[in-house]
Amino acid sequence: MASTEPPAAVTPPSSKPNLLPLASPTIITPSAAASVAVAPTASSSSPATPSVATPRPIPSDAEVFHIPSYSCWFSLGDISECEIRCLPEFFDSRSPSRNPKAYKYIRDSIVKQFRRNPSSKITFTEVRKTLVADVISIRKVFDFLDAWGLINYSPAALNKPLKWEDKDSKSSQHAADSPAGPSLDSTPPVRETSKRLCGSCKSVCSIACFASDKYDITLCARCFVRGNYRVGLSSSDFKRVEISDEMKTDWTEKETLQLLEAVMHYGDDWKKVAQHVGGRSDKDCITHFIKLPMGEQFASSAEFGSSINKLNQMKDDNNISSSSSPSKRLCLSPLADASNPIMAQAAFLSALAGTGVAEAAAQAAVTAVSEMGQGEPKADIRSLHGVQGLQDASITSNGSDVLKSVEEAHSGVNPKPEEKKVNVEEVEEEIRRVAEVQMKQIQEKIVHFEEVDSQIEKEWKQMEQMRDILFYDQLNLLKHERAIRKSGQQAAEGVRTQGDYVS
């Protein structure tokens, strides 16, 4: 007689629970219903109303189950391709007890048993004690469901690596756990520190990194995007930290003044500028100069789009791409679904550059690509206009140089990197021109609207006239009608009297 006694679950299984979509990366699939997510009920299972073919709003006491987005093919009603692929032994009729019906029985029982108490993990042994089948079949189905997150899955475990990333994440987890401590001992939470090492891939964080103050972990942008952090952390725990040489020491006013003087004197010769400033490399000078708030927002984003390559030729060590305002701290939620390498790249780049900049880049690239080859310098100005107001980078000699060189590039002439002079007035003129053009645009629009307005008035008057005419016609009609009626009556009377007279 069997006499082992694990805890018995005796409640009748609830019929067809409702599944709902959640924000990525987990999805709760709808079995039949539409909207609003309800907090998952961990305790008592009130039986859900049976699902109907037409979508209905879910009643407030319905059950909600979370499954990961890569398992959205699952449905209790039937067997999907995925299952047939992963568990072929149930579908190839090699053994009589392993058939689709048995598979469905095992699978549905396991899932229902888990869903009776979704907050706690269900073990294989618990399950196999309650199923009438051989234990190995049960184990296979159980492992399958477990791997795909259809059981023993809770939204809190969001950062568990996908099963095919297991090897990857295991090694990085080991790395993350141990160096996270020592690497951060040397880097206090304050930003002005020396090189930062990424906790998981142990590379020097160069451009941007993500730090979690809560757990004291630093990750480079790549690791952050790929999700190589410890279980239990979520992407929102991390804050983006810009790393540029700028951050290490702030520019004093004196230094800034020296820089400006030097630039006025030496123009494009950054080496001399650096010498003049003293204590800063030429790279530093360039970056700081660009970031100086000169109040102009113009053409700085010419580096994006079609001319980015030309720019790179001209200034090979210009860190414009990383020079989004240092005070910006972006909280990014990277694409966790980094299995697509292209998306991972895009995510990485956007994580580096920040959302605003990335948007601008995308827009500009699209416009520039579509207008490339038309040979119109105006096209670039337009696209530049379109990207205005996104960065605080100053208009510099580089700015005007870029504009000129872009025009030249379009007409096929190679720009010469060394010929430009600093001319602040030229820049101001350009800005004036731009402002004028915009004013003209606005004026034209006003005129246009006035015209439209007067036209509308005319039409209105016409309509009134027509209305009057119509009214007049109506009156006439009525009059005639009355007259006719009267004459009709008279005629009728006349006939009668005549009739009397005759007879």
Partner: protein
């Protein structure tokens, strides 16, 4: 149950479980360091042997038993597996065997007593199906009853199969001496009943009234104290 395949009742058949699949009942009764672990389940003999250790490890982990259990469990399963396989090449006589299967088990709070007839010749029979239907029809709520019933049936079928191997061997030896004594052999095995005897009432297949009680399933729910009593009885 599905209709009989056309096997002649007298030819010996290779040993196997008289069910649609070669599923073997495995019983575990392991004691390590004062802890006793008893279990019973169905095992698919055609699965690779690697499954044994995986299963043992899994069970030990899920039930949070000490590590020593894993090896013991694996060993026990393997022994029973080998035992089953040792019968493999041999023949068994099935004859026209309709055997009574008795259920007399306690699963948690549910007490089950039942008796029914099973056709040994029907190699398509499925104790699992029977058990599922049994639980559904009697409205048994405890999900652990199902596997226990299926297990009990299989165990008895297994026993009978082993016995029939033994008798087949005997008959072969006996054949060397005597000839044409098949019918006596099949009659001599106590478990089998002759079809004719069974349906002594020639005009209908319905059982006699006085036998109804014997063949009726009885399901009882026990209270806590009774459960304790039963448990003590079993352990003793």
């Amino acid at each position: 149950m599905k209709p009989l395949p056309s096997t002649s009742s007298k030819t010996p058949v290779k040993f196997r479980m008289p069910t649609s699949e070669n599923l073997v009942p495995i019983r575990l009764d392991i004691e390590v360091g004062g802890q006793r672990f008893k279990d019973a389940f169905t095992w698919n003999i055609s699965d690779p042997d690697s499954e044994v250790s995986v299963f043992a490890k899994r069970t030990q982990k899920d039930l949070k038993l000490p590590l020593a259990f894993a090896t013991q469990i694996a060993q026990s399963i393997q022994t029973q597996q080998t035992e089953f396989r040792s019968y493999k090449g041999q023949e068994m006589l099935t004859g026209e065997k309709i055997v009574p299967i008795k259920l007399d088990l306690r699963v948690n709070r549910t007490l089950i007593k039942d008796q029914f007839l099973w056709d040994l010749n029907n190699f398509d029979s499925d104790p699992e199906e029977f058990s599922k239907t049994f639980c559904n029809d009697l409205g048994i709520e405890d999900p652990e009853v199902g596997p226990a019933v299926a297990f009990a049936i299989r165990e008895q079928l297994y026993e009978i199969a082993i016995q029939s191997v033994a008798t087949a061997r005997e008959s072969r030896n006996a054949k060397k001496g005597r000839r044409g004594e098949y019918s006596s052999i099949s009659r001599s095995t106590g478990a089998a009943l002759d079809l004719m005897k069974l349906f002594s009432n020639r005009y209908s297949g319905v059982r006699k009234r006085k036998e109804w009680d014997v063949f009726e399933p009885m399901v009882d729910m026990l209270s806590n104290e009774e459960v304790e009593k039963w448990r003590d009885l079993e352990e003793a």
